[in-house]
Symmetry: C2
Subunit: 431 residues, 2 copies
């Protein structure tokens, strides 16, 4: 059996998964790749840290150069995360003709360009399936299987933590704060949950998916982002009344030559399969002009699911021949120049929940402002609250322009009889 | 722009899809592959047949040798279907170092071996994504993305016609015969629907999927097969009472070193995502020991979805370099020798519906036979029919051995007070 030596940069959650899979599924990987894959070195920060996997001392190192200078190591697997030193390490490894596998969404989203170009320049393979949606093969799916398509729409539930929280809120009527606390106790949410609940994580992932789907470099900062902290139990309740659910969706759409890019809580019909993705599962829904509707569903995080994607990438490289020049270009985000549609110009339906004073004529004032701004209503719910004498008004609009909606909301908020605009949630017609 | 010439064998439904995609998505395909893909020749049986796409006369031919002997044609796309002459044509094209793309499930399921070996021998690429589940990239999914996994279970809804029929029966309470007739009128079912409704089509597809998933040659005839013709509206009604749905599932499971392979109508919990795949959609659910639960969902048939898979395969070949020797082996169904578990030895839960005479003690006789055969019951429904004086008994068993279930049924059927065993449907626990 031929052998190939690889090195891991990092031995955290994903690194442990890779180690476990390469050991427990050794035979599968050998037979399928034709090679024995040996982890020759693992770079860690602290040699003495207690770990949940037993790794021989002699392969653990704190010295990156030991890996860089070892010409017998053909593939370097970056599972440290973060921007630096990950990026510098990868660039230097590629200079030494080592192939790269990475799970680093932040780095690919922000500096994919530079890494892809280096890979092309050096003729090495650069695989990053694990950077989006864990074990779901969505990168290869778009990059290799859907090449015949103009991709029209992509909707992703790509953050497990927020989907877990929203699922609990939907299915159990729970409050955001309570579910977040429970998720943190169970280890499903980080002590500092900002990256998940404020949708930075989903924003990175959308940048990666959209740049592949539309063959165009996407600047992360050009993606509109809105987290889930403002979603309340009562919004879930109203969504249910409208036969909808609320999901944090990463949305990329072709729109008259431009592209729409946004991540925000979204009301979607309970009839659409995405609305039934619960718990910490991820799913990506794609509409291509040839393939039609397509959905991928699975575990978006965790040591083994993410490790599955990493090891799959290792096998891809090994099968291609570790000593072969990679003839398949890695840079694929410069095929077109796509302009990003400004958020003001998007069209959507909207759910608006407001608290108003219980007096005659309020609804009439509100609907008159909407009408003036060309916002037409699909449904209105008005519910009095006996306790505090306030009234809740819930509006669902027909499709309208976001700027006109915003103008209306601004005017409505200034009405004396309007106590508060509690929430505005976009509604997406997935048909 | 570099150019690559290809030929189509056949210009039916799928061939038309390939033609349309290569024309309408020309720019996407050029940018993503780096090549202009030109259809240089199309083999048809009858030059004068009226077609729904406009194809220049000069590229249409009835002479296979024109394609075979043209060294400028690097890729041959077989979309004729059937065993012969498809197989002979492909073998001869590979002898001439032409790469192959095919959508032919029957041929891959029955003679994949011989074709794969020829591809390896000649160093050409052989792609068959379109042979299973149309546009869903399930072949590449298993073959390239899940290589790190021991695949434990695979459940597929891989036949659109039967899923359409069962969906109508479930959602509208319709009868099998009525829905089949309607499906035939709408063109969703063939005039002779045998291949679909008797599950031959699903059997071929399972042979292909299982042989990849388990790395072992699967003989189509070793797959247990049962169609959907016996499903009645009343069975759907009872399934609903048990919070289940009925799907035609293609099942492949690892079971103590052996594998279970079967295609049959199956009751599954409405909580599982597969139970919500409606209409003519396909879906494949996989459980891997690293990736966990994974599901692919999309259009399993149709000119454009299937064409999407075919053209995706063409791009794969082009990117790899049409003049390059393929170093990635095509034969992957000889990695292990897996024994097929006999149907008598499988374990399942069962739904049994019987019509019995309305007299005391019948249920007691039935349950006593079941008990004697180690079949224990989870639930029993007994319902009298005022009109004909008969009684319907519906039994749901706990997990039991199929042989013991069959022995019981045989004994029960012989009871004088049992008028008829109307139906037996396996229930699959997908967790």
């Amino acid at each position: 059996m031929k052998k190939v030596k690889i090195a891991l940069l990092g031995l955290g959650n994903v690194g442990r998964g890779v180690w476990m899979i390469l050991n427990s599924n050794k035979e599968e990987i050998m037979k399928r790749s034709g090679y024995e894959v040996e982890i020759a070195k693992i770079l860690v920060r602290d040699k003495n840290k207690k770990r949940s996997v037993e790794v021989p001392d002699e392969i653990i190192t704190t010295d990156f150069d030991e890996i860089l200078e070892d010409d017998s190591i053909k593939i370097v697997v970056e599972v440290m995360g973060g921007m630096e030193p990950s990026k510098r390490y990868m660039l230097r490894c590629m200079d030494k003709k080592k192939h790269i596998v990475t799970a680093n969404k932040m780095l690919i989203a922000n500096a994919g360009d530079e890494l892809f170009e280096k890979a092309d320049e050096m003729g090495v393979m650069f695989q990053y399936e694990a950077s989006v949606a864990g074990g779901i093969p969505i990168i290869k799916g778009i990059d290799e299987s859907l090449t015949a398509n103009k991709i029209e729409k992509l909707y992703g539930i790509v953050n497990g933590t927020t989907n877990y929280i929203l699922s609990k809120m939907e299915l159990e009527g729970a409050d955001f704060d309570d579910v977040l606390k429970e998720a943190q106790e169970k280890g499903y949410a980080e002590a500092d949950p900002t990256s998940d609940i404020e949708a930075f994580d989903a924003q990175y992932k959308l940048a990666i998916l959209a740049s592949l789907a539309f063959g165009s470099k996407i600047d992360v900062d050009n993606i509109y982002r809105e987290g889930i902290t403002k979603i309340e139990a009562v919004d879930m309740k109203y969504a249910k009344e409208f036969k909808m659910g609320i999901k944090l969706l990463a949305i990329a759409k072709e729109n008259n030559g431009k592209i729409e890019l946004r991540v925000h809580p979204t009301m979607i019909s309970k009839k659409h399969p995405l609305s039934n993705i619960y718990d910490s599962f991820n799913a990506v829904f794609i509409k291509g002009n040839a393939v039609g509707d397509l959905m991928f569903y699975g575990r978006g995080a965790g040591d083994l699911p993410t490790g599955s994607a990493v090891v799959g990438d290792i096998v891809t490289i090994v099968r291609n021949g570790v000593d072969a020049e990679n003839s398949n270009p890695v840079v694929k985000n410069n095929l077109w120049k796509r302009e990003i549609l400004s958020m003001e110009d998007i069209e959507s339906k909207y759910y608006v929940r407001a608290t108003v004073v219980d007096e005659p004529g309020v609804l009439s004032k509100i609907t008159s402002i909407l009408g003036k701004n060309n916002v037409s209503l699909r449904s209105v719910i008005q519910k009095g609250d006996e306790e505090n004498g306030n009234v809740t008004i819930v509006l669902v609009t027909h499709k309208t322009n976001e700027k006109e909606l915003n103008n209306s909301i601004k005017e409505i908020a200034e009405l004396k009889s309007v106590y508060k605009i509690n929430n505005i949630i976009r509604i997406e017609d997935l048909e």
